[in-house]
């Protein structure tokens, strides 16, 4: 039996044997620490994500010291922004007990349609107005998701798979299929605007793009919404138990429309940032990246069953996924292997958090 040594220790302790007492204490302490660490990680899943980030960085950095450069960090941040915006949307929908997979289609539709429209009708439109258009468009699409989910009482995963297909098809049929290389001037300059440029003595340069601020603001607003407003608490209430929340006076329709509209808003903005940073608009872009984003949110400690998750954890999850997708190449790991690592991490995180010990 597993607890044999500990029991033996206790028995000896009772008869007064010093060595036995020490053995018993040591076994007890070990068990306590193990349980304590598990409890701790269950309460603060973000710490687990952080540990994985440190682990990956340490391994890559040891194999290839070139990793330790400011430009690596800036590149990471640059590639995190769009995923991060999407992830915050997924987080808030998950917190309310739903799952959204249509955000990439919403982002693709709004970014491409707006790029086409701006080029055609108002090529000199400022980035602020373009961003606003993306936000409004995304919000409208998201609200439709929310209304469908609420009125049909259908699982949101199914509904958003449906709207994703519809949106993609509408985009390619009515808006266009051509790659646009000359994006509007405002988007081009927004994408290249540097918040800070670092010129190391060794040559080369590291640029921190200004659009990183979009993610910073979005994360701040999302955090505030979730933790400092009644709406935020209602989101978690609905995600915890819809029937109970309804009985307690929370209006599920308002909450569901809100979370999907908010996820749509972030997707719309994410789309604009995507075009700006790539300086091209491709209607086929972003397809198939849904799982990467959901993986990031799950790795950030949110449970797929809903009702949990934090903004900080989600951002760490995004960093972890971006890290694995971008820097493993520095360690000589072929890019085809990246998904193996992400997959293994997800299984690891899932087994850590999903299985709660029976009371």
């Amino acid at each position: 039996m597993k607890s044999e040594p500990k029991q033996a220790g206790l028995r000896d302790a009772r008869t007064g044997s010093r060595a036995g007492l020490r053995a018993g204490l040591r076994a007890g302490l070990r068990a306590g620490l193990r349980a304590g660490l598990r409890e701790f990680l269950l309460h603060y899943p973000a710490v687990f994500t952080l540990l994985l980030i440190i682990l990956v960085s340490a391994v890559v950095g040891t194999i290839n010291p070139n990793f330790w450069q400011l430009s690596t960090l800036f590149d990471m941040l640059r590639s995190s922004v769009v995923t991060g915006l999407f992830a915050l949307g997924v987080l808030i929908v998950l917190a309310a007990g739903g799952l959204d997979v249509s955000f990439t289609a919403i982002a693709a539709f709004t970014m491409y349609a707006i790029t086409v429209a701006v080029l055609k009708h108002a090529p000199n439109l400022s980035i602020g107005v373009i961003m606003l258009c993306g936000a409004v468009g995304g919000t409208l699409f998201g609200a439709v998701n929310g209304l469908l989910v609420h009125t049909l009482r259908a699982p949101s995963l199914i509904v958003t798979i449906g709207t994703q297909y519809v949106l993609r098809s509408l985009l390619l049929t009515f808006v266009g299929t051509a790659l646009i290389i000359n994006v509007p001037a405002a988007m081009e300059s927004f994408g290249t605007l540097a918040l800070w440029t670092y010129l190391p003595a060794s040559g080369g340069r590291a640029i921190l793009p200004a659009f990183v601020l979009v993610l910073v603001v979005a994360a701040g607003v999302t955090w505030w919404l979730l933790n400092r407003t009644l709406m935020g608490r209602a989101v978690f209430a609905i995600g915890g138990n819809l029937a109970v929340a309804e009985r307690l006076g929370y209006n599920p329709r308002v909450v569901q429309v809100f979370v999907f509209a908010y996820a749509g808003l972030l997707a719309g903005i994410g789309g604009i940032v995507h075009v700006s940073s790539n300086r091209l608009a491709n209607p086929f872009d972003l397809t198939g990246t849904e799982l990467d984003v959901i993986a990031a949110v799950i790795l950030g400690g949110a449970r797929i069953t809903g009702g949990s998750g934090t903004v900080l954890g989600t951002l760490l999850g995004v960093v972890l996924v971006t890290l694995v997708n971008n820097v493993l190449i520095l360690a000589g790991v072929p890019s085809t292997w990246q998904k193996v690592i992400v997959g293994a991490f997800i299984i690891l995180a899932g087994s850590m958090f999903a299985v709660r010990t029976a009371r």
């Binding site: 607890s3 009644l230 608490r233 209430a237 915890g240 109970v244 307690l248």
Partner: protein, 534 residues
């Protein structure tokens, strides 16, 4: 909607005479139908401030439906609700809360992923905003309200407890949290739907002191309950429902327990011992030095064929864990179990089932039944391999025959076995679950709280079934904190304390107070000395 068939239990003039300023809520001629079932047939009721009401009746009598209508969870088909002179044809949850009607639901209606403080005090801010969510969360107020409410129900108010997630709390504490929520705001009426189900006697006493405080503040309290003892002990008005109608309203002190249960069921029930069989002389179960770290230690007892052994103890006594160990759900880590002369290793539920041990869990809704599945699927769930036909598919005819047999045998009231289990009342659900374990041809049944949330009439039926089973040589272990239940049904009663067996009583002729003393005395003064010795 027709109201011709209503029989008003209280004459209108009489009600008028009582309607002074004391009246808070009047329910007038409420009807409600669900898919052909006439759940409420013209119910009228008047609730006065500072008065305690006990709404009792069998499962399915309509009392839960009335609660849902008063708390705004469901609209009535016809009739009126009059709150402080204002008439409503239906209430929304927010309207009910705003009017000061707070409800402690039987399922507690807590949000598992939110903190204790949020569960208690968020509603206050939601009601103040009229249900609008575009508001800032006032965290200081949240904590102040929660602290006040926690103190009122006797729970700790320190930050660490307040920020704990509710799903990490033990059930009894969750119940208190739910009660704390109902009194966190200026409630004028508190409805408690079977609030004492998972509480021990001491916690019930605590709850009663909370109720006394509420009454002193002129709050009306409406208990929905099965427990006639508590109804008599707490006092106040009693309202009895049967078949969707009010059949009795009066002072609790004017009626004996036997009279109350007669009004509930419409028949006279035996209050005496059910035990009518003699255990056989053949040993069936021998538990030797069974231990599980942190739960129980060195538990030894034996049981003969056809014998009923009761096990009781306080919540932390290890009785629940012992039940789970015998069922293979949470295995023991030391000691042995011998069944019919053979040593059995119970490391998973399948081991227990293979050995012929059936386990009726404490919470049939979340641990026992597949609520949305049919009665047949629930009864046959543990014996599917025996119902295998050709090509490995389930033989539908045999499965249906098996379900029919147990439904008839256990007197489950249902029009057919294809209906989902959730369409049944609590007592009938419990019998379906019992049927599942009888289907495995058990040698031993472990019944964990077999009549929790089951009404008097159904209890009677379940007890008779248990007695009959022992006549077939099945051994039964009943784990329960319902002491009359143990006294009425068992041959022997074991008491657990701090993970160890402390007493072994012969049930026949045992006084309930003696048994309770054995449970509670140890919880008091003896604890410290026991800890010091350890």
């Amino acid at each position: 909607m027709s109201t011709f068939d209503t029989a008003r239990a209280v004459a209108p003039e009489e009600a008028d005479a009582r309607r002074a300023e004391k009246q808070f809520l009047e329910v007038r001629d409420i009807h409600k139908r669900f898919a052909g079932v006439h759940a409420l047939r013209g119910v009228s009721l008047s609730i006065e401030r500072g008065q305690i009401y006990h709404l009792i009746g069998e499962n399915g009598c309509g009392k839960s439906t009335l609660i849902k209508i008063i708390s705004g969870a469901q609209p009535p088909d016809s009739g009126q609700l009059i709150i402080e002179g204002q008439a409503y044809s239906a209430l929304s949850p927010i309207q009910a809360l705003k009017a000061g009607i707070e409800t402690v639901y039987q399922d507690l209606s807590l949000l598992p992923n939110l903190s204790v403080a949020e569960n208690i005090a968020l509603t206050q801010q939601l009601v103040e905003s009229g249900g609008h969510l575009a508001r800032r969360l006032d965290r200081r107020k949240l904590e102040a309200t929660a602290t006040r409410a926690l103190a009122a129900v006797g729970l700790p108010g320190e930050a660490r407890f307040m920020h704990q997630r509710v799903d990490e709390l033990p059930i009894a504490m969750r119940q208190l949290v739910s009660i704390a929520r109902s009194i966190a705001t200026e409630a004028k009426m508190v409805i408690m739907d079977e609030p004492t189900t998972s509480l021990t006697k001491r916690e019930v006493a605590n709850l009663i002191s909370v109720v006394d405080k509420l009454r002193a503040h002129d709050v009306a309290v409406l208990f929905v309950t099965h427990k006639l003892d508590e109804c008599k002990a707490i006092g106040g008005r009693v309202v009895i429902f049967r078949d969707g109608q009010k059949v009795l309203e009066g002072d609790t002190q004017d009626y004996s327990k036997a009279e109350l249960s007669y009004w509930m069921t419409g028949r006279h029930l035996d209050e005496t011992r059910y035990r009518n069989e003699q255990p056989q002389d053949a040993a069936l179960l021998a538990v030797r030095h069974l231990s599980r770290a942190g739960a129980f230690a060195d538990v030894s007892f034996s049981l003969c064929r056809g014998e009923i052994v009761g096990i009781t103890g306080l919540l932390d006594s290890g009785r629940n864990e012992l039940a789970l160990a015998l069922a293979g759900v949470a295995p023991a880590d030391g000691g042995s179990v011998e069944l019919a002369g053979r040593q059995v290793a119970l490391t998973r539920p399948a081991d227990a089932i293979a050995a012929g041990i059936g386990y009726l869990p404490e919470d049939r809704l979340s641990e026992g039944l597949f609520l949305e599945k049919s009665i047949q699927a629930n009864i046959t769930a543990a014996v599917l391999n025996r119902l295998r036909g050709r090509f490995g598919t389930i033989d539908a005819e045999r499965a249906a025959a098996m379900a029919d047999r147990f439904v008839a045998d256990l007197q489950v009231a249902t029009p057919g076995t294809a209906l989902p289990v959730q369409s049944l009342s609590g007592g009938n659900q419990q019998r379906v679950l019992l049927g599942r374990w009888l289907a495995i041809d058990p040698q031993l049944l472990i019944l964990h709280g077999p009549t929790v949330g089951v009404d008097v009439g159904s209890k009677d039926t379940i007890y008779r079934i248990i007695q009959r089973l022992t006549g077939q040589g099945i051994g039964v272990v009943i784990i329960s904190d319902d002491l009359p239940e143990l006294l009425q049904n068992c041959d022997r009663i074991l008491v657990m304390h701090k993970g160890r067996l402390s007493d072994d009583f012969v049930a026949a002729g045992l006084d309930e107070n003696v048994l309770y003393e054995a449970l509670a005395a140890e919880a008091g003064g003896d604890v410290k000395t026991a800890e010091a010795a350890a």
